[in-house]
């Protein structure tokens, strides 16, 4: 049962980070971030991580998602023209993570690890390709959550704190020059 929950959590996390990668609107990005946080928390809980750490991860991800609604592109704007490479990258990332962790993907801990690796890889891909400050910050939060899932309680809490902390940074492009 826990295996199925962990795999479902990993799938939800992948869906969330894929949404984050193909969204050019603040709502789409926030939904992707919240979904990824929910999926990662589910997978981590199924893997037997401490409940406090899992709750912190979920809270940090949700806080970051809500805070990202303050600025950025209007509306949802999911899958605008030119999103195909990002969608392909999302598929390749899940295949790559599955290849690396193929020996333990059937275990809850393995599924949680695959979820963390996929979220981290796709969030990094978003950071490396976007020119928008708010999108980079949203992906940075996802990156912290993904990396946090790869560790124990310390990693989960650190990931949550950093995700929420990045949410507090102003994402408005106008703040670019002044900092």
């Amino acid at each position: 049962m826990t295996e199925a929950i962990a795999v479902a959590g990993a799938a939800l996390a992948w869906l969330g980070v894929t949404l984050l990668a193909v969204a050019e609107g603040r709502r789409g990005l926030a939904l992707g971030l919240a979904t990824a946080a929910g999926g990662l928390a589910t997978a981590a809980a199924a893997a037997g991580q401490p409940p406090l750490g899992v709750t912190a991860l979920l809270a940090g991800g949700l806080a970051a998602a809500v805070l990202r609604l303050r600025s950025g592109g209007r509306g949802w704007n999911i899958l605008p023209p030119g999103s195909t490479p990002r969608l392909m990258a999302a598929l390749v990332a899940v295949l790559g993570a599955g290849l690396v962790a193929s020996s333990e993907i059937a275990s809850p801990a393995g599924a949680a690890r695959v979820a963390g690796l996929v979220v981290a890889a796709l969030a990094l891909a978003r950071i490396l390709t976007t020119e928008r400050r708010w999108a980079a910050l949203g992906a940075g939060s996802a990156l912290a959550l993904g990396l946090g899932t790869l560790g124990g309680a310390t990693g989960l809490v650190a990931g949550a704190a950093v995700a929420a902390g990045l949410g507090a940074i102003d994402g408005a492009e106008a703040a670019e020059a002044g900092g």
């Binding site: 690396v100 020996s103 333990e104 890889a121 990094l124 999108a135 990156l143 790869l150 650190a158 002044g178």
Partner: protein, 392 residues
């Protein structure tokens, strides 16, 4: 054209600076007081880490008060406190994965500093390094085929180099960008903190085969950076780039020292990083007015003395580092000493060029230059004391 002529910065709001300074000071206090707190186990400053933190605080104080700046000093105090807090966290956090996660926060927070380059471009380097470190750490601890652990060790070594912005991840540096906003801060301030403490924490959890990959990668990258920095600082067209490449030379020696795993090797890296923070970085700040063309470059008697320092010759701070690295290299594999000696000798060719750019300073700035020279002399003459303080 309009963009090119636009001012590179707008004033940073005072509340933002106050918040940055308060966050930095609070983090620093937390790290220093951690042994007295219930969760102190997660925050442990090693002895070399304590020395580097102290050296960084001294370097910040010295440069803020005495170095010539375009940025208001109160803004530098705030940014400096924030940076010191970030460095203290990177030095003290015991869990390597948490360090990788914190690198994301420090990198993104640093990218909010005023700059003409976009935020997203400046956040990429630390984010990439964080992923390499986080994924590498996961791989080396993951049960499975041997290649996964070796790939993890490779990623960890590359992550350290990426965080510092060295070859092959040489970050773009805008000459007009102040040092407090440019990637030089990663090469000369945050990078040394990571490279000084992380290898010790990583090696305790690695198998011998993974550790060999980690060490060999560091030695290889060290030699590449040493060669790139030496030839680059000598042959590059601009003095700004020459300074930048000179940082690679120090890093190259430190990486070779770490990668060879010997006690003397770690000591060499430790001395190199302390000198990088206390000598190389401040001297770069003193050279900035000439690099930006606001002061003429010239070669006075003090500059000749500084050229000796920058060449890594005795009795200054670079000399014990070179001696220790050569000692470890000859013990491990003597042919390794050939490129090291060649790079050390070639260091003389660009030292004079760098020293010229330090120009002539008056008043507080001149005093500061003499203070840096004195610090370098102390580091060069008393490396044993410095090693003893750090338990190396």
């Amino acid at each position: 054209m309009i963009t090119a002529r636009a001012p590179w910065r707008l004033p940073v709001p005072a509340p933002a600076l106050l918040g940055l300074a308060a966050a930095g000071a609070a983090t620093l206090a937390l790290v220093v007081a951690a042994p007295l707190l219930p969760f102190g186990d997660g925050l442990r400053l090693t002895a070399p880490g304590r020395v580097l933190l102290l050296a960084s605080a001294v370097a910040l104080g010295l440069t803020i008060v005495l170095a010539p700046h375009r940025v208001p000093r109160w803004e530098l105090v705030a940014a400096g406190l924030g940076a010191l807090g970030g460095q203290a966290l990177l030095l003290a956090v015991a869990d390597p994965l948490a360090v990788a996660i914190l690198l994301v926060l420090v990198g993104f927070a640093f990218a909010t500093r005023p700059s003409a380059r976009p935020f997203s471009a400046r956040a990429r380097g630390p984010a990439f390094a964080a992923v390499l470190l986080g994924v590498g750490w996961t791989f080396v601890r993951m049960p499975g085929p041997a290649w996964v652990g070796r790939a993890g060790a490779l990623a960890l070594a590359l992550g350290l180099v990426a965080a510092a912005g060295l070859v092959p991840y040489l970050a773009e540096v805008d000459p007009d960008e102040p040092a407090s906003s440019s990637y030089v801060a990663w090469t000369g301030f945050f990078g040394p903190a990571l490279a000084l403490t992380l290898p010790g924490r990583l090696l305790t959890s690695m198998s011998a085969a993974d550790a060999a990959v980690f060490g060999a990668t560091l030695v290889g990258l060290g030699l590449v950076n040493l060669a790139w920095g030496t030839v680059g600082a000598w042959r590059t067209a601009t003095d700004m780039d020459a300074w930048r490449y000179s940082f690679l030379v120090d890093w190259g020696l430190a990486l070779v020292g770490i990668g060879l795993f010997g006690r003397d090797g770690f000591a060499a890296a430790y001395l190199a990083f302390v000198a990088l923070v206390l000598v190389r970085l401040p001297l770069y700040l003193w050279a900035r007015p000439a690099l930006l063309g606001s002061r003429p470059a010239r070669l006075g008697p003090l500059n000749v003395l500084l050229a000796v320092l920058l060449a890594g010759a005795a009795p200054f701070s670079g000399f014990p580092v070179r001696l220790l690295v050569l000692n470890v290299a000859t013990q491990a594999a003597w042919p390794l000493a050939i490129p090291l000696v060649a790079a050390m000798l070639m260091g003389i060719t660009y030292a004079m060029r760098l020293a010229r750019t330090l120009g002539e300073h008056r008043g507080l700035a001149a005093i500061g230059l003499w203070v840096v020279l004195g610090i370098s002399l102390v580091l060069g003459v008393l490396p044993g004391v410095l090693r003893a303080v750090a338990g190396l």
